[in-house]
Amino acid sequence: MSAEASNPAATPTPCEDSQGDGRWMSQHVRFVSECKEREPDVVFVGDSLVQLMHQFGVWRQLFSPLHCLNFGIGGDATQHVLWRLSNGELDNISPKVVVLWVGTNNHGHTAEQIAGGIMEIVQLIHNKLPNAHTLVLGVLPRGRMPNPLRQRNAEVNKLVQDALSSLSHASFFNMDPGFVLSDGSISHQDMYDYLHLTAHGYQAVCEPLHAQIKSLLEKPAEN
């Protein structure tokens, strides 16, 4: 994979407060506090697709019982997640599983750069939490009809899946149940804005995800 120094997607970068209400930093600080107060077995980290999962019934139903924390922030790209995990969001906790779902917001980056960013995060998690397994979720298709971002996201998934195949502490999981229909369209019943999941869309991806996480939690601890 390309040198991290020249890959903006793999360079830890905080989000600038361009709007003026400091919300990104407030959320990060809250997550760092949660690391001091809680003992999660599973930590979810990523963008709005992670963050919104927490707002639907499916979270309380499937993931709360597994002692999960949700560190998703809307708009985050790989470099933002890398910064957050380097600055406190993996401290004082020893989860067995880290679920990583990020990449769709890396606008202006190539598929190679985005995949490089994701692998940089996987490496960071392994350095900080040597006993944890990282489950990298495939980036979902987006847009109502076929478009360049779908191609980019599919390419990212392919590169990441290849890179992860040689690792024992991380694996790739594709939870796309087939959102793209035979005519190439995505339904607003699954993604209300052709990017973010509806409650129905979350139900479809969370059930297999839950099963996958449970099987990882039930495995004997790795040395």
């Binding site: 003026g20 400091g22 919300r23 987006r142 971002l149 052709y194 509806t198």
Partner: protein
């Protein structure tokens, strides 16, 4: 009130497709189609604060039963909502009430300009739907701690409170105070990112809004529609 010609927040503008997947236009096109298929009594229009409401249980419980359509689009400013309403999202429908909630994303505009933009939308709605009531929702505070955007949104609300009564059909509903705790903070239990509402947060707004809508719908006589034989 500032002249609309000079107010950038009152200029109709579509959103450019910068990301490359055309999602804004896809959503607008779907809303235009919904106008052809549906006969809503209530129309909700605005930004993500409106759009997200439809994803939670509260929508099915309190607003679907009123025959409501939701034309919320995340990220929209007053300019974008104006464009959408002028380009098909009011065709073929005659709702009795329009709920308008927009303004928090107008980052390039002053409070006066934002309020002027909201009033321009309310005016457009009144022109197109002379019998409809327009319920304008106050901009909620944002950010975990006090900050300039809270002051700006509060200033917009103050201006709306004094300007909207001139429109006759417009009502103003502001539940901002319910969200700020005594220490000045907003809780993530109400706004998960100190901007967007959780289901708990929406419950705070939904009761007074639903009561108001029911009141309006009960007062409005049934329109005689030409029969579709």
């Amino acid at each position: 009130m500032s002249g609309d010609d000079l107010n950038p927040a009152a200029v109709a503008l579509p959103v450019e497709d910068r990301q490359g997947d055309g999602r804004w236009m896809s959503q607008h096109t779907r809303f235009v189609q919904e106008c052809k298929d549906g006969e809503p009594e209530v129309l909700f229009v605005g930004d993500s604060m409106v759009q997200l409401m439809e994803q939670y249980e509260i929508w099915k419980e309190m607003f679907s039963p009123l025959h409501a359509l939701n034309f919320g689009l995340a990220g929209d400013t007053t300019c974008n909502v104006l464009w959408r309403l002028q380009n098909g999202e009011l065709e073929n429908i005659r709702p009795k009430v329009v709920v308008l909630w927009v303004g928090t994303n107008n980052h390039d505009h002053t409070a006066e300009q934002v309020a002027g933009g909201i009033v321009a939308i309310a005016q457009l709605l009144t022109n197109r739907l002379p019998k409809a009531k327009i319920v304008v929702l106050g901009l909620l505070p944002r950010g975990e701690q006090p900050n300039p955007l809270r002051e700006k949104n509060a200033a917009v609300n103050r201006l709306l409170r004094s300007w909207l009564p001139r429109l006759g059909q417009a009502l103003f509903l502001d539940v901002s105070n319910e969200f700020i705790h005594s220490d000045g903070t907003i809780s993530s239990q109400d706004m998960f990112d100190y901007l967007h509402l959780t289901p708990t947060g929406y419950n705070i707004l939904a009761k007074p809004l639903s009561d108001l809508l029911l009141q309006i719908l009960e007062e409005t006589p049934e329109e005689r529609r030409p029969s579709l034989v």
